[in-house]
């Protein structure tokens, strides 16, 4: 499947609807969501805005490097280092970054300095950093020097405008939660007018690729999320009345299924999830999924297998290839939507299913550096 090489207009995005109940595929448009969903359903979006998370800097030996913020940590941020070059090279073709022992100060564009406070056992390139400033001056520096994370299949540098959804609020995503980008307010208000709830959560989406095989195999890294009480109420209402809970993007699946894992029922609040989704995972909250176009081999494709069996997924891929659907963050959408009777009942009392691990953290998603 061809990646979309630029930030396409929302109206140009296509929607492939997959019905696992009947095995049918349909070529539609995202505007059709208004009629595809039914009153009582709830659509859950990730309202994290996208931070310009790519920063250029210099290693101790004077060699150029790139630092991509990947997550919020206890002391500052998690970041992944890249060697010389930029997004124009494929990540796997980039030279390795300089070695940065704990205590190294990394000068970045705009005068910002990152200090290495921890190195991950996963990869020498994954480091925890603190910055030399906090509060308004830190964010001014990040927004002044940072660029959106992007990859070699893009044709031109991306503007910060291009990597935002229509509803993004706090800048906690390091890459755009892209399944929601094609959603217009005409669609969202249309859904609400039809009796479909549009609910939100915040999930700090991390990097989708680093070019480091060991690190890529571990993606997605643990990510923080926050689920408001009104979203839990919306979801409970939909599930108990047998309506759909449609996740917009894999980050929403991860937040909701991560939050309910190990619990009798979904609860509001903040946490961190290292849930990894794939074949055999049985979602307890999410019944249906709006996501991008994914190809075999991607972690997102594995996640799709939690919703669609392998045979039907094979037909989806063949059809998408033949019909010229585009992949990646500015590509087209897949909607997995069951027709007819709702799928699995919301079994609030059931025991936790397999393939999840998670831990709760105190406090909220607000960055620890934001308040000082």
């Amino acid at each position: 499947m061809t990646p979309a090489g630029e930030a396409r207009a929302r109206r140009d995005v296509r929607l492939l609807v997959v019905d696992p109940s009947t095995g049918t595929l349909a070529d539609r448009h995202p505007d059709d969501l208004v009629e595809l969903l039914a009153p009582g359903d709830v659509l859950v979006v990730n309202d994290a805005a996208t931070l310009p998370a790519s920063l250029r800097g210099t290693g101790a030996d004077g060699s150029p490097l790139e630092l991509r913020l990947a997550g919020v940590s206890a002391r500052g941020f998690w970041a992944v280092l890249f060697g010389a070059g930029d997004w124009r090279q494929r990540t796997e073709d980039r030279p390795p970054p300089p070695v940065v022992p704990v205590g190294t100060r990394i000068p970045l564009d705009g005068g910002l300095v990152a200090a290495v406070v921890r190195r991950s056992p996963l990869s020498a390139r994954l480091i925890e950093i603190t910055f030399d400033r906090a509060g308004a001056s830190l964010y001014a520096a990040l927004y002044g020097a940072g660029r959106p994370v992007q990859y070699a299949y893009q044709r031109a540098p991306l503007a910060l405008w291009s990597v935002q959804t229509a509803y993004g609020a706090r800048p906690l995503a390091f890459e755009m939660p892209s399944a929601g980008r094609p959603l217009t307010w005409a669609v969202l208000l249309g859904l609400q007018a039809r009796g479909v709830s549009v609910a939100r959560l915040t999930h700090a989406a991390g990097l989708s690729a680093t070019g480091d095989p060991a690190l890529d195999a571990a993606l997605p890294l643990p990510e923080r999320y926050e689920i408001p009480p009104e979203t839990v109420a919306c979801i409970d209402a939909a599930r108990t009345s047998g309506r759909r809970v449609v996740a917009v993007g894999t980050t929403v699946v991860r937040a909701l299924e991560g939050a309910v894992a190990g619990r009798a029922r979904l609860v509001a609040g903040a946490g961190t999830t290292d849930l990894r989704l794939g074949p055999g995972f049985v979602p307890r909250i999410v019944t249906d999924l709006l996501t991008g176009m994914h190809v075999p081999g991607e972690s997102h494709y594995a996640l799709l297998q939690a919703f669609v069996d392998a045979r039907l997924l094979g037909r989806v891929t063949s059809h998408a290839d033949a019909a010229g659907y585009l992949s990646h963050e500015f590509g087209d959408l897949t909607l997995v939507l069951r027709s007819g009777a709702p799928a699995r009942r919301y079994d609030a009392g059931s025991s936790p299913r397999r393939r999840w691990r998670k831990r709760r953290t105190a406090g909220s998603l607000s960055s620890p550096i934001a308040r000082s």
Binding site: D47, A136, Y139, A140, L160, W161, Y167, G168, R170, P171
Partner: protein, 252 residues
């Protein structure tokens, strides 16, 4: 009832009315983010609020620049959380002394529209979406009687404010029933640097103090159910009418 917003973003927040609105809100417990082009006045405005025990942050940015919008929105939300109140106070008069339309350079006219009209459009576009999802939020557009009256030499400014008024009305219509309110306020003539730039000959003793007007503006904002979305309020008249029963078209 105290319905002060928890967070507010105020453009034009380093001087005049914007700075005063920031002070009044912060004194009522709102976490305030001020946006202005100049660092010196902005730092002073932030320090003034903090020394009074309030929370304030400053963002140096030009609201007339499209590429400044997501940095403003993102930095503000990172600093104080979701923005519940957005006040569009930043304004550009164009070159002073004010001149006739026939003498106005095209670029100067365009610049006034960038700051006074396109800036508020773009920043609202970035911030009102999250407000709709949250089902709460208020957007205040600071207007002028120049939006209504045809004052000679106030062409670019007056046109920008007339369009800003209509922007607020249409936004209110499109987002009716979403919980997000749009309120346009004509603050009246105040003793500010902008007023002095526009009308240096004015008798300053006849002009209102920005802090007095700011208190009125914040009262208007904090009165949900009294001010309907899409309303255009003349601050002086509203204050006078406060004691009177609410007008008929207002829902409780």
């Amino acid at each position: 009832m105290n319905t002060s917003p928890r967070t507010a973003l105020i453009t034009g927040g380093s001087r005049g009315l914007g700075r005063a609105i920031g002070r009044v809100l912060a004194a009522r417990g709102t976490r305030v983010v001020l946006v202005a082009r100049g660092t010196t006045d902005l730092d002073a405005a932030v320090a003034e609020i903090r020394s009074a025990g309030g929370e304030a942050h400053g963002i140096v940015a030009d609201v007339g620049a499209k590429e400044a919008i997501y940095p403003i929105a993102g930095e503000a939300a990172a600093l104080v959380g979701e923005i519940e109140l957005l006040v569009h106070d930043a304004s550009d008069l164009g070159p002073t002394p004010l001149r006739l339309l026939l003498d106005t350079e095209c670029e100067d006219f365009a610049r006034v529209l960038e700051v006074n009209l396109l800036g508020p459009f773009r920043l609202t576009k970035a911030l009102a979406g999250p407000m709709v999802l949250a089902r709460r939020g208020t957007v205040v557009l600071i207007s002028s009687d120049a939006a209504v009256e045809s004052y000679p030499r106030w062409g670019a400014y007056g046109v920008s404010k007339a369009a800003l008024d209509h922007l607020g009305r249409i936004w209110a219509a499109e987002l009716a029933e979403t919980g997000v309110r749009f309120v346009t306020i004509d603050p009246g003539e105040m003793d500010t640097r902008m007023h002095a730039d526009a009308m240096p000959e004015a008798d300053r003793t006849t002009l209102a103090a920005p802090m007095d007007v700011a208190a009125r503006v914040v009262d208007i904002i904090a009165a949900p159910g009294v001010v309907a979305s899409g309303a255009r309020i003349v601050a002086d008249a509203w204050t006078a009418a406060r004691a009177a029963p609410p007008p008929a078209e207002v829902s409780p």
